[in-house]
């Protein structure tokens, strides 16, 4: 363990020196999903320094621009950063979804082509999974890819594409064989969003924001060299990737909405007496229970990570984490606006009367309703738990 201790003290020193002070506060990670070209100032500086150090993706191999850290070192680094209140330099599905999938299932050429774009903070990816009217029934997809020898020509549409307006590339499930059972005949392809056949239509949400698009494909070209896995076997790749997605959606937190307060802080501010003491017994109880559930869930995430590191396959445990984590985050966001009372219920564009924290909380409240719907809704996760883990029979 001596080496790990050395690593920890070196990491602490490096972070102390390189992470700009303005990033080291709650909400400092607000830009986490933006690539280099959308950033400026300290946020850009922090991204660049991490890219150089390899710490955008600390555990990926150095040959692709990662940090080459062991799992223990990576866990230690995350712990140190959390303690120092330092945000991850980059977040989003490039790192959490397509990256790990390429590392696991991509060819050497594919890794070399795509991973450095991620680890340098230059390339942003979006996901082409859901389709209009398919809902949680992902496999029921209609976007068609026609085999043209060295490439495919794609026509159709995807919906709920997060960050499509900022994305450089898309990873996409397409139908390459319409004449077989729906889970078969699907392929997993990558193509650039700059293709002239790609067009976008933003979807306005109940939160007033439009973070998602419907994406239309009109003869879009995807090279065969960018096919992950075999033709017609993309469903397996897609499902593997979803397991990464589940653990990441399950987590989440308030910082991405730019909220600088914890629930307990907010309760003291909005509902406390002069000393911040909360004299509403019911509110105190709700905060207590939320804290207990949050701690228990954090311990569970840790336990399952530890089990995985000790060689146990997590399997469908990700469904449990996704289910509980997304419900918990949703409840937490609901509780935040409920604590703020009317101040938590302003309209998004009313900057005069509602503070950034308040508007952020309102947005988070409405946006987090999607967490239990997207990425396989809670009901689907419960179906998976009951069938795959508990092995309850199908009717």
């Amino acid at each position: 363990m001596a080496n790990l201790e050395t690593f920890k003290s070196e990491a602490t020193a490096w972070l102390e020196e390189n992470c700009p002070a303005s990033m080291r506060k709650h909400g400092g990670g607000a830009d986490a999903e933006f690539t280099r070209k959308k950033r400026s100032g300290d946020s850009l500086l922090w991204l660049d320094r991490c890219a150089e150090k390899g710490w955008i993706a600390p555990s990926w191999p150095t040959e692709y621009g990662g940090g080459g850290l062991s799992t223990e070192e990576h866990v230690a680094l995350v712990g140190i950063m959390k303690k120092m209140n330092i945000p991850a330099p980059l977040g989003g599905m490039s790192l959490t979804m397509i990256g790990p999938t390429l590392l696991e299932l991509g060819t050497e050429e594919q890794k070399k082509e795509h991973l450095p774009g991620i680890t340098s903070g230059n390339v942003h990816w979006c996901q082409g999974y859901s389709e209009p009217n398919a809902g949680s029934d992902l496999a029921n997809l209609q976007t068609k890819a026609e085999d043209k020898g060295d490439h495919f020509i794609i026509n159709g549409s995807k919906i709920w594409t997060s960050g499509a307006m900022h994305a450089d590339w898309m990873f996409c499930l397409v139908r390459t064989d319409p004449n077989v059972q729906k889970q078969k005949g699907i392929s997993f392809v990558l193509f650039p969003m700059t293709d002239p056949g790609v067009s976008l239509s933003p979807i306005k949400l109940i939160s007033g924001q439009s973070p998602f698009c419907q994406v239309f494909f009109d003869n879009v070209r995807a090279e065969k060299s960018n096919l992950i896995g075999k033709v017609n076997e993309g469903w397996t790749v897609g499902k593997r990737l979803l397991q990464h997605e589940r653990s990441s959606i399950g987590g989440g937190g308030s910082s991405r909405f730019g909220i600088s307060m914890t629930l307990n802080d907010a309760a003291k501010k909005y509902r406390g007496d002069e000393n911040g003491k909360i004299d509403d017994p019911l509110l105190k109880l709700e905060l207590t229970r939320q804290d207990i559930d949050t701690q228990a869930f954090a311990l569970t995430t840790k336990r399952i990570t530890d089990e995985t590191m000790s060689g146990v396959t997590p399997g469908f445990a990700t469904s449990m984490l996704k289910y509980y984590g997304s419900e918990l985050t949703k409840d937490s966001a609901e509780m935040m606006v409920s604590i703020m009372g009317p101040q938590g219920l302003g309209r998004d564009d009313d900057r005069d009367n509602f503070s950034d924290d308040e508007r952020g909380s309102t947005r988070a409240w409405l946006f987090t309703k999607a967490l239990t719907i997207a990425g396989g809704c809670s009901e689907v996760q419960l179906d998976i738990i009951s069938k795959r883990i508990l092995e309850l029979p199908t009717g």
């Binding site: 306005k204 606006v337 009372g341 009901e379």
Partner: protein, 381 residues
């Protein structure tokens, strides 16, 4: 009294359902929001409501009202809740009229109630000062100087203040924040010197305001009820308000639920109609049961007002009603969005309006926490 509507009330309910669905559907609210209408309601629709006589439904005949009772007002509010109809009915004809009837002297009533009934007086109750509903913690002061009072303080979440002619302002004339003694109600003209009103856009597309009183001078004749002793009157006004807003919330709850049931009857996923899924069926059935309970507490609450229940007894009824309905509306609107899935997350689908409305009404005159805590206190636990 049996917990059912009589024939006249049933007829009124049918008329109200017809009016709101035709003249004030949910899409009217969307239009008002998108058009950035200042009052956040349609003045034309408000005029129609006045013409139907509903502005004076609880007001005594001697002041030009219909004297039809709160059960009658309740069915109008419930049907309005179904279409999320925005109007000053709650601020003016529930809170304003109740304040005048309960606390006003003969002169104030004869002068103001007829104007209110005719739609020529919009009233607004300025009570809240922070995130939590807590009348006894009022800090806005009114200090006597000669024949008038000077009001200083800030009121928040003042519904419809932007279009109000007068405000009923809860102030402290003596005592410490936290004490029920020392509260006084004032009628204050909205255009008085020193009053500044900032209009807010709320998530539910309604209007609420922050109102600052900066040395606002009000004649002693504008005191509503007794100086220092408004607490009992105020409790009754608020109890009536809590039960009436519950009627409004009940209508929205029922509509959100019915739309959801209809949606899952036709939506297909994994080649199956969603509504055939037993897990959803049971959640729908449990929600149905909760709504049946909510219906009962609302009709019993309205009846209690009509039967003259007042004081702590009515406060307990009001807390029973608003806590039960509040929980149910929150649950029903959350389940509605979840069961609508992705489509429910879009602004284009109307179900999101119900979710937002659930949370603002939740904070109107006390949230579930406030009412459960108070109910427990009134039980003597």
């Amino acid at each position: 009294m049996p917990l059912i509507l009589n024939d006249d009330q049933k007829l009124l309910k049918d008329s109200a359902k017809d009016f709101f669905s035709k003249s004030m559907p949910v899409k009217q609210l969307r239009q008002i929001r998108d058009d950035e209408v200042t009052e956040c309601y349609s003045t034309d629709s408000w005029k129609e409501i006045v013409d139907l006589g509903w502005s004076g439904i609880t007001v005594e005949e001697e002041f030009g009202g219909l004297e039809f009772g709160y059960l009658g007002l309740g069915v109008i509010l419930e049907e309005g809740g179904r279409t999320l109809a925005a109007s000053p009915l709650f601020s003016t004809c529930v809170l304003g009229a109740a304040a005048l009837s309960i606390a006003g002297n003969q002169e104030q009533k004869s002068e103001l109630l007829p104007l209110l009934v005719q739609g020529d007086l919009i009233l607004s109750l300025a009570i809240e000062e922070g995130a939590a509903h807590a009348p006894q913690r009022t800090r806005t002061t009114a200090s006597k100087s000669g024949d008038s009072f000077t009001i200083n303080g800030t009121k928040t979440f003042v519904l419809d203040a932007s279009s109000a002619d007068k405000m009923i302002v809860v102030t402290r004339t003596s005592g410490e924040a936290g004490s029920n003694a020392g509260l006084t109600l004032f009628l204050v003209d909205s255009n008085s010197k020193g009053v500044s009103i900032t209009s807010h856009k709320m998530a539910d597309s309604r209007n609420a305001c922050t109102v600052v009183f900066d040395n606002v001078s009000v004649p002693a004749a504008n005191v509503l009820g007794q100086v220092d002793n408004a607490a009992d009157d105020l409790q009754d006004i608020l109890s009536i308000g809590q039960i009436c807003i519950s009627a409004d919330m009940l209508g929205s709850t029922r509509e959100a639920f019915e739309r959801t049931v209809e949606y899952i009857k036709m939506r297909e996923q994994f080649d199956t109609i969603l509504g055939t899924k037993q897990a959803l069926q049971h959640r729908a059935a449990q929600l149905y049961t909760e709504i049946e309970l909510a219906k009962s507490v609302v009709i019993a609450g309205l009846q209690a007002i009509d039967e003259g229940q007042r004081g702590d007894a009515l406060a307990k009824t009001a807390s029973l009603t608003k806590s039960k309905v509040g929980e149910t509306f929150t649950l029903a609107s959350s389940e509605a969005v979840q069961m609508h899935g992705g489509i429910g997350m879009t602004d284009e689908e109307e179900i999101g309006f119900f979710l937002k409305r659930a949370r603002t009404t939740e904070h109107t005159l006390g949230d579930v926490r406030y009412h459960q805590n108070r109910y427990g206190d009134l039980l003597g636990l």
